[in-house]
């Protein structure tokens, strides 16, 4: 005799509007503050303001054309921003993730004060990015900064304008970005390592594998899901990155300091000039880029899962 199944039949919601009532607050807020502004961004990207307070005129795709190639004042900066975003994606994947995995693997062995290490490595994640930008601004400060002072132990006359030199500014900010996010990825890897059954290591040891062999043939392959999560977050995060680059690199030349997000801000808000149209065109391109990247990654993950 099977258990009484009547309870398991799909429940009919008599009030047809109940789901709507539950969804309404979220849909309203999301529509008003996310969807509507995005739509408005598309509309603004076709407009141009001839004068500060004048009415905008419709210019079709001219804003896009100017950003992409027609006016070097804009296109040079736009392409440099695109390049910096690409560089940030690649460097984050190539530096942050291996470093995070390295630290997580070290901590997976019996370690004194394991919790303390984890707490401290993760700590920058709870700091406001403004505080990080200011603090690291003092690390890179010319002459009086910690970096220059440390170098002066070896070379007493050294002085580097780290954050205003176009050749160093990006890497310097990237180091700070690593300082903030590596602990985060480390925790993701630690969670991944915790799911690997101890028996696999024992079996490997019985088969005569050394520590490197165990890492290579047990830890690394079984950390693939964690790597996928970390890499996804890294790529999406790097594409839309803004905070530290905007705050730390103010003093550098335009073509060496912008990401797309910071360029949008400087065009549409920070400059005070009437460049909303250009800013919105850049925003539309960032939106499309982020969406394409996200779709590609989800597709791939579906495929491999």
């Amino acid at each position: 005799m099977p258990p009484n199944l009547t309870l398991r039949t799909p429940r009919v919601h008599h009030a047809r509007f109940t789901p709507l009532a539950f969804l309404l607050p979220a849909l309203l807020l999301y529509g008003l503050f996310v969807a509507l502004p995005i739509g408005e961004s598309f509309r603004l990207s076709f407009l141009r303001w001839p004068s500060e307070f004048g009415r905008p005129v419709y210019v079709g795709l001219d804003n896009f054309r100017d950003l992409l190639y027609a006016r070097p004042v804009f296109s040079r900066v736009f392409w440099s921003a695109l390049w910096h975003n690409a560089l940030l994606v690649v460097l984050s994947l190539a530096v942050q993730l291996p470093l995070a995995m390295f630290l997580a693997v070290l901590l997976s062995y019996p370690t004194r004060g394991r919790g303390v290490f984890r707490t401290f490595f993760f700590a920058p994640m709870v700091m406001p990015t403004v505080a990080i930008a200011i603090l690291w601004g003092y690390v890179y400060l010319p002459e009086r900064g910690l970096l220059d002072q440390a170098i002066r132990w070896f070379d007493a006359s050294f002085g580097g304008a780290w954050l205003s030199n176009p050749n160093t500014v990006f890497l310097c900010v990237f180091v700070t970005i690593c300082w903030r996010y590596t602990g985060f990825h480390m925790v993701i890897y630690m969670a991944g390592i915790a799911t690997i059954p101890e028996e696999l290591y024992e079996a490997g040891r019985i088969d005569g594998a050394g520590e490197w062999g165990l890492f290579r043939h047990v830890t690394l392959p079984l950390l693939k899901p964690a790597t996928v999560v970390s890499a996804t977050l890294s790529v999406i995060g790097s594409l839309k990155y803004f905070d530290l680059m905007y705050m730390m690199a103010e003093g550098a030349p335009e073509t060496s300091r912008e990401l797309i997000a910071t360029y949008i801000f400087r065009l549409g808000i920070g400059s005070g000039a009437n460049r909303f149209g250009y800013g919105s065109a850049a925003a539309v391109m960032l939106f499309v880029l982020a969406l394409v990247a996200a779709t590609a990654i989800t597709r791939r993950r579906r495929g491999t899962a």
């Binding site: 789901p19 503050f33 996310v34 961004s41 700091m127 505080a131 603090l135 982020a290």
Partner: protein, 278 residues
């Protein structure tokens, strides 16, 4: 063999310690500099503080407007967290338990919000909320709206998963006892997803507490500054003065670190759970 493992363990701890010292040094330096005198920091930046000098802190508290900024940040974050939690719990419950048309489409549209760079909305929001729009700039609502809007996707994702794991028998029992849909949600399902709700609250609160771009765009009135903005302005005016700025950094960061030390397990889980759920 024994010796080899010992050497390895020492090496491992050594490497970790090097990372800890190098990585942690800026924070230590910040704390030291906050209690030193400007001249000392200039002449010997790496030296230890010789005495505890609180003048920098009193200067910061007298000039920075940090009290007001703390209050503003608390109001904005508390309201946003509450609103986002409530709206996403209701929506998450609907996605987990109810059947309606276009459910999948709606869910993915909401989820797409996680991938959208907030910066795409800065220019339109600046105009729509500005004086030529509905004039909400420089009010708490100017920040609460976008904060909640962009908190919804991840919150709904986490909460939907939690609601799906609530045993349906409990909800059925409540329904037989005469609860309507709201009663089942509010009295039975919601209390059972408290851990997920805590995750959502922690994640959203910290994200909003540290948020910079929206605040910079939508708030220009000093009396409405949030903590990051107050800190940024302080650096703009007093950045030359390392010790005072370090004291301001401490004022802004230490309370968060204290909370972090006590609740670090929850905070680490809260900040990474969003990631691990994807």
């Amino acid at each position: 063999m024994k010796a080899k493992t010992l050497v390895r363990a020492v090496l491992r701890h050594g490497v970790l310690l090097v990372f800890l010292v190098v990585g942690g040094y800026p924070l230590v330096w910040m704390g030291f500099s906050a209690v030193r005198r400007e001249g000392e920091v200039r002449s010997a930046p790496f030296a230890l503080p010789t005495q505890t000098n609180l003048e920098n802190f009193s200067a910061v508290l007298a000039s920075g407007g940090f009290g007001r900024a703390y209050l503003n940040s608390l109001i904005v974050c508390a309201a946003s967290v509450l609103l986002a939690g409530m709206a996403s719990a209701m929506a998450g419950y609907a996605f987990a338990r109810m059947r309606f048309r276009m459910k999948e489409t709606l869910f993915y549209l909401l989820l797409a919000g996680m991938m959208i760079p907030i910066h795409v909305t800065l220019i339109p929001l600046n105009r729509l909320l500005g004086s030529s729009g509905i004039g909400l700039k420089n009010t708490y609502w100017a920040l609460i709206g976008p904060y909640v809007g962009f908190a919804l996707p991840i919150s709904i994702l986490i909460l939907r998963g939690a609601f799906e794991n609530v045993p349906i028998e409990l909800e059925d029992a409540a329904r037989i006892d005469g609860c309507n849909a709201w009663g089942v949600f509010w009295r039975v399902a919601l209390p059972l997803v408290r851990p997920a709700l805590a995750t959502v609250v922690i994640f959203n609160f910290l994200t909003m507490w540290n948020e910079f771009a929206f605040a910079l765009t939508l708030i220009s009135n000093e009396s409405m500054y949030t903590l990051p903005l107050a800190l940024w302005r302080f650096k703009g005016e007093h950045g030359i003065n390392l010790t005072q700025t370090c004291a301001a950094l401490c004022v802004a960061v230490l309370p968060v670190f204290v909370v972090y030390c006590f609740a670090q397990r929850h905070i680490i889980r809260g900040l990474t759970a969003g990631a691990l759920r994807q």
